[in-house]
């Protein structure tokens, strides 16, 4: 078992704040340990010698495809707005967040 990388409870609460999640004290302790364990496994990967290995940028073996930059009307506005909790017929209306 790889050594645990210490993550502090403060780091856990900081990440929770960024994620807009509330975390109990027990969860802080649990997650700190679990996150440390996960980071420790990265050390196992780091031990692999990749000096002679070509980096893999994409599993896709083919080049990307480009198309002509031509605008096309594919959807009706009513369709697109149908899932909006609030809309004014033209735009999505969302709570102010800034």
């Amino acid at each position: 078992m790889a050594d645990n990388k210490t993550i502090s409870q403060d780091e856990v609460t900081h990440m929770a704040t960024l994620s807009r999640l509330s975390v109990s004290e027990e969860e802080q302790t649990l997650f700190a340990r679990q996150m440390g364990d996960i980071l420790a496994y990265m050390d196992v990967l780091a031990q692999v010698d990749t000096n002679d290995v070509e980096p893999l940028y994409s599993p896709a073996q083919h080049p990307g495809h480009l198309r002509e930059d031509v605008a096309a009307r594919r959807r009706e506005r009513t369709e697109v707005l149908a899932n909006a909790p609030e809309a004014d017929g033209e735009y999505f209306m969302v709570p102010r967040i800034v």
Binding site: V48, P59, A60, H62, H65, V80, N83
Partner: protein, 332 residues
């Protein structure tokens, strides 16, 4: 422990997809009859396994009735065949949640490419299968709606994240299900439920309309009761789609034809030795070695192989173990 599988399935629901498709083409079986049998099977099994998040009774019966009026179409390989779709794939007009409360009221206005292909091939979509929320899990216990149970033993998990798909197919609720696989999410639940699951090579099936988990790894794939059924469904969903830039512009092979003839006789199976190292449960080792022995007996040669970075294989297994929670899945 309740074993759903012990209850005799209706004759229709125990057919393979291939058998059902042939019966439908020959008008021995009607589309509405097939859908009705599957819906009845769902009614009988859902209380025990909870595989489905949304069942579209009206839509499926209406589609079936319309198809019966027109009669079988030999150009449609899945004509009249009822299927389910993992709730990570967008279905037009049918609620799609990815098993999350965030998408509780989300109804897509378009079909995922793979769903579109199923419809064009004549398949009938019965509903959306349960999964781990946003595919984040390997047991389907992380769904925000319900826990799906393994139809072969309802005290056990079906695996995940395509647990609903695997359970639905295994319980005979449908003839095939589409799942998604990023790090095993089709293959593992198929294994735990005892059905066939395939993760196609990345780029073989378009990811357009799939709610993403790991976009450089995600693939849509079939879960079925037989390998032939799997080949049939793959042939329908594979293909180039302009709307997915990672989709390969390669022609689609005839996978069903490739199954015929000598099959795997004389083929050489590579078994990575590192997957049989430290940490492997003895029961799993025994089951795998038994299967390998079986393969050798059937004329296939097996041999050890060594991936270049064997410890990465170790890490892959560790990643899976960390994904576990609560109930530990057991191998069959």
């Amino acid at each position: 422990m309740q074993n759903i599988f012990e209850n005799a399935m209706t004759e229709i629901c125990s057919l393979s997809l291939t058998q059902a498709a042939q019966s439908l083409q020959k008008k021995e079986l009607g589309a509405a009859e097939a859908v009705t049998a599957c819906l009845a099977r769902m009614d009988a099994t859902e209380p025990g396994i909870s595989a489905m998040l949304t069942i579209d009774r009206e839509g499926a019966l209406a589609a079936a009735a319309a198809m019966d009026r027109q009669g079988p179409d030999p150009s449609k390989p899945l004509w009249g065949v009822p299927v389910t779709v993992k709730d990570a794939l967008s279905t037009k007009g049918l609620r799609t949640t990815a098993a999350s409360r965030i998408l509780e009221n989300y109804t897509p206005f378009y079909d995922a490419y793979a769903v579109q292909q199923l419809r064009e091939a004549g398949a009938i979509i019965l509903g959306k299968a349960n999964m781990d929320e946003f595919a984040m899990g390997s047991t389907t216990e992380n769904s925000s709606y319900q826990t799906t149970r393994n139809p072969r033993d309802t005290s056990r998990v079906p695996g995940g994240s395509s647990g609903g798909s695997a359970a639905s197919v295994t319980a005979g609720q449908c003839f095939a299900s589409l799942g998604t696989d990023t790090g095993g999410s089709i293959r593992q639940p198929a294994s735990l439920c005892g059905c066939v699951g395939l993760k196609p090579t990345y780029g073989r099936v378009s990811r357009y309309g799939v709610i993403a988990y790991g976009s450089s790894l995600d693939q849509v794939g079939p879960l079925t009761r037989t390998v032939e059924d799997c080949a049939r469904v793959l042939g329908v969903i594979a293909g180039h789609d302009q709307r997915d830039g990672t989709c390969a512009p390669r022609p689609v092979d005839d996978y069903v034809a490739a199954l015929g003839g000598k099959g795997l006789k004389g083929a050489r199976l590579g078994i990575p030795k590192e997957f049989f190292g430290e940490g492997l449960a003895p029961e799993v080792r025994a089951v795998c070695q038994n299967a390998m022995g079986h393969s050798a007996g059937a004329g296939r040669r097996t041999g050890g192989s060594k991936p270049a970075a064997h410890r990465c294989g170790h890490c892959h297994l560790l990643y899976h173990r960390h994904g576990r929670s609560q109930l530990q899945p057991r191998s069959l």
